[in-house]
């Protein structure tokens, strides 16, 4: 496997991750790297272990085996808030908002751990809202927003911490075609503007193929394939996992 940026060190190294739930092996043995400034797609059929991987990376689950390194530092077993303060920040597939609070306060809370100064926090909130098209709805309660805005608010909360690695968990779910296009544009813009790496979990294959530099395919808790979108989409193992084998 080759790094897209040649000699640079990886942002994140996952090594032999394993996590069981009772008798079920959700993630059996998964290793991969995320390189600086890349958008890495993580895909796989339902139950492949994508969400478990997400929870392992962000510290919400402890791996039963394996190591996680973030910029070379071992972060295995750290708590979610410790990992977030190091710069690895995730969004949530469901329940990604502070529903009974204003959009402003949603983003404000995300600035608290990284920005000390009041004024600077205010600026951070406004910049972030602007980037995600939320400036006009800052005073609205999160639960009253239309679905598209709610999805972008989930991203805004994570982005307001100014992460070094942004992990997006199915942030396009339920968006219509125009909204998906707009969201992809925003994600590219985030990468350009902050020069960060993005891990992108998504069911929308067209979007994944469009935006990702590399893709990691999971199946039954194992790494099935890894490569560029073209490589992966031609891989017979991947086609079999998604469509079933010819009998």
């Amino acid at each position: 496997m080759s790094a897209p940026t040649g000699t640079a060190a990886p942002v994140l190294t996952a090594q032999g991750l394993q996590r069981r739930f009772g008798g079920i092996m959700a993630v059996a043995d998964v290793s991969f790297e995320i390189w600086p400034n890349e958008i890495l797609g993580l895909i796989g059929p339902n139950g492949a272990g994508k969400s478990t991987i997400f929870n392992l990376l962000s510290g919400f689950y402890r791996p039963h085996n394996g190591r996680l390194r973030f910029f070379g530092e071992d972060i295995t077993g750290r708590t979610p808030s410790q990992i977030s303060r190091k710069g690895l920040v995730r969004t949530f597939q469901h329940d990604s908002l502070l529903r009974d609070m204003s959009v402003y306060d949603n983003i404000l809370v995300a600035t608290v751990s990284t920005v000390r100064d009041r004024q600077a926090r205010h600026r951070r909130v406004e910049e972030t809202a602007d980037l995600l098209g939320l400036t006009d709805v800052l005073a609205e309660l999160a639960r009253n927003l239309p679905h598209g805005h709610q999805r972008m608010l989930g991203v805004a909360i994570a982005l307001a911490t100014r992460p070094k690695l942004l992990c997006l968990d199915e942030c396009l779910t339920g968006l219509n075609l125009t909204e998906v296009g707009r969201a992809l544009e925003i994600i590219r813009q985030i990468r350009e503007e902050f020069g960060i790496a993005i891990l992108f979990v998504e069911h929308n294959m067209r979007a994944v193929m469009q935006i990702c530099d590399r893709i990691v395919v999971l199946h039954h808790g194992l790494l099935l394939a890894e490569g560029t979108p073209e490589e992966v989409s031609r891989d017979p193992k991947v086609l079999e996992a998604y469509l079933g084998s010819k009998r």
Partner: protein, 323 residues
């Protein structure tokens, strides 16, 4: 005139009126009712403060009791001045709550409710087992030192107001926003790098400081304390004040305390049946006043405020308190 300055002015005038009345107009009985209102309001505000992070803290009763005993020990045994006793009571409540919270605030919802209930009862039983503090019969002769005795009701009102104002300030600060964020969704709060457990312990400690001082004021107003005064019912009554007054605003806790304490004075002749009326009031309030007395007051004063201030109250939307 912006509505915030109007609010401050009204609050300052009301505070002065209450203080003047307490000192010069109320008489002994009136002053004792006012003190009862103050300590009840503090218990209610303490309970409500932990509700900001989404937990119902029955152990409020325990910290209230610890404050009462610590202050009584300070003034009766050691002859310390009242301010020292009050501060010691608050610190004792806060300190014990930190130990309690460090262990228990990892749970939430029904689990925390049950653990805090258990803690309240254990604390009460501990009071009954310690002979040095009077075991079941408690402590007597708890008076503030002589030069302050005349002013004690006034001091009670001042201390209560200062603590309520402090709680309100914290609630409106960024820290208060983080509290409500935890109530909404603690996973999101963790994911943005905040240590939820530490923030919850901090919230509990502040609330328990207030409960401790409330207990100390209770002890010196009542002059007698016994373990029975600090059963979980303290928290149940505090919850009644909060619910009937309206949990959306700290003034709701105060309004509930005023209303039910005054009502209680009329019902006191009913003895044990008094509780039926409190229960009934609680059910009625939940059915017909979802926002409590504060909700009514807000609705009634809204046209007035709008007339004072034509601009839309954006701030109140931004910071609208979660139900």
């Amino acid at each position: 005139m912006p509505r915030n300055s109007v609010g401050m002015l009204v609050a300052a005038l009301a505070a002065l009126a209450v203080l003047g009345y307490t000192r010069f107009g109320a008489g002994d009985f009136g002053a004792s009712v006012i003190m009862l209102i103050c300590v009840n309001a503090l218990a209610a505000a303490s309970l409500r403060f932990v509700m900001l992070v989404g937990e119902l803290n029955v152990a409020t009763a325990a910290f209230y009791g610890i404050g009462a005993y610590v202050s009584a020990i300070a003034t009766v045994w050691y002859g310390l001045p009242l301010p020292v006793a009050l501060i010691a009571a608050g610190l004792a409540g806060a300190l014990v709550s930190v130990l309690f919270g460090y262990v228990t605030l990892r749970t939430k919802g029904a689990y925390f409710l049950l653990v805090s209930f258990a803690f309240a009862e254990v604390a009460r039983l501990v009071f009954t087992r310690i002979d040095a503090i009077g075991a079941n019969s408690g402590m007597t002769g708890i008076f503030p030192a002589e030069p302050l005795a005349l002013w004690y009701p006034t001091i009670t009102v001042v201390v209560a107001m200062a603590l309520l104002a402090g709680l309100y300030g914290l609630e409106r600060s960024t820290l208060g926003t983080v509290f409500r964020a935890i109530q909404n969704n603690d996973s999101v709060v963790q994911s943005v790098g905040l240590n939820v457990l530490v923030v919850k312990i901090l919230c509990l400690a502040v609330a328990s400081f207030v409960a401790g001082v409330g207990g100390a004021l209770h002890a010196h107003a009542n002059n007698v304390i016994s373990p029975g005064d600090f059963s979980f019912l303290v928290a149940v009554f505090a919850l009644a004040y909060v619910k009937i007054g309206g949990e959306g605003h700290i003034l709701g806790a105060v309004m509930g305390a005023v209303f039910l304490t005054v009502l209680g004075q009329y019902l006191i002749s009913l003895g044990a049946q008094e509780a039926i009326f409190f229960g009934g009031a609680l059910v009625l309030a939940m059915l017909i006043l979802p926002d409590g007395l504060y909700g009514i007051a807000e609705r009634l004063t809204r046209p007035l405020l709008r007339a004072l201030d034509r601009t839309p109250p954006e701030d109140s939307v931004k910071r609208s308190t979660a139900a």
